[in-house]
Symmetry: C2
Subunit: 241 residues, 2 copies
């Protein structure tokens, strides 16, 4: 049972995406919408601030709220964390055919750097997982993951090849995934990585690395994604103040 402001946000998001509210159109005022949904303005504002952060609307003091134009979208878009949950790769691209190829999966001791990221002792084991991800059968990224084995003891290979790892972890821990702290860097593909993706070494790469945590603050996953920069871009919508 999601919070009311999340339900309302999703309801209005769907209204925008299905063109019930059209681009550049003014949408009803906070006072109207709060009456429509039967909540106070404070609650409704939480919904609208989230929609603004997601880049779907623009709020302008004294004028009203407006549907923003979507970005032209020739490339796949790496979500920057404005969805309902931290999105795993397979959740993000559900409209196209996504698959995974498992390259390695083994238990090992993390190096000190990984152990520090996972806030664990270097003497405890982690799953190391290397997967190649494909969109419409084209390999587009390599992802290395280190997952604390104390949080998730076993990971079936079916999950790694087909399913959503994050959904599996939410199910088997009974906790939601909450926190993602990532760093974006640019680099060139090494020969090893390029071979996995069937591209030439030296092609541009967007490297996204970060820690994923459960809602109780447990760090369980550190991952590095090596994305083909000719296939991905990262959208970044926000409002300063």
């Amino acid at each position: 049972m999601a919070a009311r402001y999340i339900e309302i946000k999703n309801s209005i998001r769907d209204d925008i995406l299905s063109n019930r509210y059209r681009v550049d159109e003014k949408i009803p005022s906070e006072r109207e919408l709060s009456q429509l949904y039967g909540v106070t303005r404070v609650t409704l504002q939480k919904s609208m601030h989230l929609l603004e952060q997601e880049g779907l609307i623009e709020r302008i003091h004294g004028k009203g709220m407006f549907v923003t134009r979507p970005l032209a979208n020739d490339l796949y878009e790496l979500n920057n964390g404005t969805g309902d949950s931290v999105l795993g790769f397979s959740r993000e691209f559900s409209q196209v055919k996504v698959s995974s190829r498992l390259i390695r999966h083994q238990l090992l001791l993390p190096g000190p750097a990984i152990a520090r990221q996972l806030e664990m002792q270097a003497e405890r084991e982690v799953h190391f997982i290397r997967r190649v991800r494909l969109i419409d059968n084209t390999p587009v990224l390599v992802e290395d993951s280190w997952i604390n084995a104390a949080v998730v003891a076993t990971i079936p290979d079916e999950v790694l090849n087909g399913g959503s790892l994050y959904e599996y972890i939410e199910t088997c821990t009974g906790k939601k995934i909450k926190f993602y702290n990532s760093v974006i860097e640019g680099d060139l593909f090494s020969r090893e990585m390029a071979n996995l993706l069937d591209i030439a070494p030296g092609m541009p790469m967007l490297k996204v690395s970060g820690v994923t945590k459960l809602e109780d603050g447990t760090a369980f996953n550190y991952s590095i994604g090596y994305n083909r920069a000719d296939k991905f871009k990262i959208k970044n919508s926000w409002v300063g103040k």
Copy 2:
């Protein structure tokens, strides 16, 4: 006169940065802090949610709020928009020696793509500005900006060479800068760009492009930053739900 929740956020941020609250330490509860600052819990929560977004604290349901460890910082960090205002380049790196080299500055008609981004007619003029930015006298990025001349009629070259363009615009329009909608892409440096930075063509690049708006919704600036990927990374801190 900033809002109370912004003042409180900055006050607690300074307490963290000056080690009055130490890393991994639990900070006082919402109820204590709201009493300390003389505001209600709702107001204080706005402050704390912002601090969480900035990656300074972690909030854990039932446990409390904790100071997070800073990321290791070997590279320059491109702020992702969690500060008080959209940060121009010269505001972001005030601790190191930052300078600019003005390459071009002229009035011209925008192409249709730029005009659409700036929500203006293609028959009106824009400033086109190309600058090379240097940190400690090393050129690290090229930035192209298109600025609607209807919003800012004249831009002194002193501002482009030394000062902060955003501060100048806030001053001469009398409005705050509010909105920044950006896209991050990876690419390789072309010969032309590489020459400007005195590097080899083919080096990796982080390309950051986006529109900047005033708080009344006026789009005034479209810019593309070509960042040396060996010098910059982008931090991305946030909390899904």
